[in-house]
């Protein structure tokens, strides 16, 4: 059942005949490469490329989730509706605002803690585990636990404010309180991923560099400032772009904790797409909104890619 024919060993003739393309893998190896990639490619086409193409098509039709088929041709009018819809742009802004609120925290705090953790000589595993553990908890569980803690009157976080003589913000009833709630939750929850990226990068830095610095009389703080941070710059670039992209995709926390409330004032664009496409049954319109959002994400990624290419320090 498994087609495990090994590729034939490349013949010497082949290699001799093409000296110019010596760096390219021999044809047989190439074929094996495609063969190994097939399971991934099949899934990638079926669940990513395919749906994107279908989405592109139905964004031109009045497709609905209450009827089979694509519905009536409406041309670009779904796009016109999306681009002129205030709710869509408001939700786009909420996704951007969430990114602006969380990205600096999630790029800098893990860096700080990863450096501190790497400086601890004993039981480092404990700190690594402690910081990474929240990341593996499913979003629904995290949100339910935080919802308990944010509950007015009885919640732990609400009460914690009063211990230090402050009054807790209204986490579910006001827009600012809701943003505070969701940002705090997100930082605690997703902190670990960036922390691990930084930790891995720190381990890559050769011990000898530190040793040399030590011999030259550099203090630990100087070592961090002059060695660790400069050598971590490429990783910081990576973490930054990964964080921006994942923050722009926010959905779970806001949907489960706040349902986009109060009065849709925190609803991110993905929830807008979900609401119009599934709750309001307007599949074609939601597909058009998705495409607009997709273009924005592609532009951001491409911009980052170009910026990185231009500056050799980050290459």
């Amino acid at each position: 059942m498994t087609a495990t024919t090994l590729p034939a060993a490349p013949s010497g003739v082949d290699i001799k005949a093409r000296p110019a393309v010596a760096r390219r893998a021999p044809r047989g190896e190439n074929r094996a490469g495609w063969l190994f990639a097939t399971p991934f490619l099949a899934l990638y086409i079926a669940f990513l490329i395919g749906p994107v193409l279908i989405g592109l098509v139905i964004s031109l039709f009045n497709t609905t989730t209450v009827k089979a088929g694509v519905g009536d041709w409406v041309g670009l009018s779904n796009y016109a509706d999306v681009l002129s819809n205030g709710d869509f742009w408001a939700s786009m802004w909420h996704s951007v605002l969430f990114t602006l609120l969380t990205t600096p925290l999630l790029v800098l705090l893990p860096l700080m803690f990863a450096i501190f953790a790497s400086r601890i000589s004993r039981n480092q595993w404990f700190f690594r585990l402690a910081f990474f553990a929240p990341y593996v908890v499913p979003s629904a569980a995290v949100c339910l636990i935080f919802a308990f803690m944010y509950t007015p009157e009885t919640g732990l976080i609400t009460n914690a404010f009063s211990w230090v003589g402050l009054s807790a913000p209204n986490f579910f009833g006001t827009t600012s309180g809701a943003w505070f709630a969701v940002v705090l939750l997100t930082v605690w929850w997703t902190f670990g991923f960036n922390f691990i990226l930084y930790t891995a990068a720190i381990q890559e830095i050769s011990e000898e560099v530190y040793e040399a610095a030590l011999i030259d009389g550099a203090s630990p703080w100087q070592q961090i400032r002059m060695i660790t941070i400069p050598l971590l710059r490429p990783t910081m670039g990576l973490v930054l772009i990964l964080q921006v992209l994942s923050s722009l995709k926010v959905f779970d926390q806001i949907y489960i904790l706040l349902a986009g409330g109060p009065a849709y004032s925190t609803r991110p664009v993905i929830q807008y797409i979900f609401d119009t496409g599934f709750s309001a049954y307007r599949g074609g319109y939601a597909a058009a909104a998705t495409m607009v959002y997709f273009v924005v994400l592609v532009v951001i990624s491409a911009g980052w890619f170009l910026a990185r290419r231009r500056s050799p320090a980050n290459a």
Partner: protein, 442 residues
Amino acid sequence: MPEFSRRQFLTAGAGVTLAVAMSGCASPIVTSFTGGQPKTADVIYWHLFGGGDGANMATMVKQFQESSGESVESTLLSWGNPFYTKLSLAASSGRPPDVTISHLSRLPLLAQAGLLEPIGDQFSAEGVTKAKFTPAAWDKATVDGTTYAVPLDTHPFVLFYNIALAEKAGLLDPTGENLKPMKNADDFVAALQAMKDANGLDYAAVASITADPSTCWRFFLMIYSGVAGPIVTDLGTKVTIDRSAMEETFAFMRSLTQEKALLPGNATATTSSTLFSQGRVGFLFDGVWQIPTYRGIEGLDFNVVPFPALLGPDPVAYADSHSLVVPRSSGRSAARTQNSVRFVKGLLDQSSIWADGGHVPAWLPVQKSKEFLELKPQSNYTEAAFNAVYDPVAWYTGAGSDFQTAMGSVIASVLTGGTDPTSGVDAMTTSLEAFSTARPPV
């Protein structure tokens, strides 16, 4: 010990998997690939009832199974939008349940999309006919002349009162089982004022206004419908707001929370239940489904009655209904449909159990039965089921919809004093324009 080669092991594994998958063509694994609802029971039933309603529904299903011998697979899904999303996707992709629940306010879209079987001859053969239902509910179950749903109940927005406080304020009629009759808004305001003054309360009444747009909407539509027709017509594509009626409604509602300070303008669902159960207000404006919440509270003796006529000449009740529907499925056999019809009839016959949750049974044989007439306070507000006004007919309206959230947010800002009645009408109009001009999915 015999040794398997890896290849033998994989082949055997695949063979076993395939055999399991293919065994019995009705297995859920196969039907998930071929389409169609797996036939794991005589009737597949989906509903959205948690809590007390869920327990009552479970009892009804169990009793039906025992008395009829039919098997029913009952699945509880999450209330509101997620339920309707799942239902419409299941129905449009051809693998719906045999029987499910729909709010009547949510029915127009499902019916227009052709996802439901009409309630036809097979039902009338079992005695399920128009004459045996509350007329307002049956009418709402009828879309473009065809009936698509069997109403199970009516659950109106009603007036709860604290009996001890009402007595002290001299509001009870001689029998002591109801309030003195009120004819209009003036009588109603006078009663609230008396409740507040006689008992020295901060507020006479409470309604959950903050972060509860649906309650705001119910409160508003009840009053507005006394003086004007639906706010949208032509299946939701035409805005037909009566500006002066709406301004009058807003001004009246605002006077209760602001000028007269009879209701707190800032009250969440928790605030309302706390204030009413502790006797800190004499009235509560809420849906009948809240009755079980207050039933067990010690020291709270309350009654529930319909709202009197307010701005208009006749009393109006905002209401919605749960109904039983049979989603369209090409693969359903006649025998299976027959099972479904019997199941629906079986649930109707047990709707006195359902009434325990505060609902008025829509099935007249139960509604007029001695058992229900003796059930208090449920039988007090049967009249409200007959005066019921539902959400306007449109693809975007209905229980838990974005429409209710949008409308309710405007109403809440009027009630809290943030918006004056005239701007409230403008905000409502703007919001409705967005809904009515969006391209309908049907």
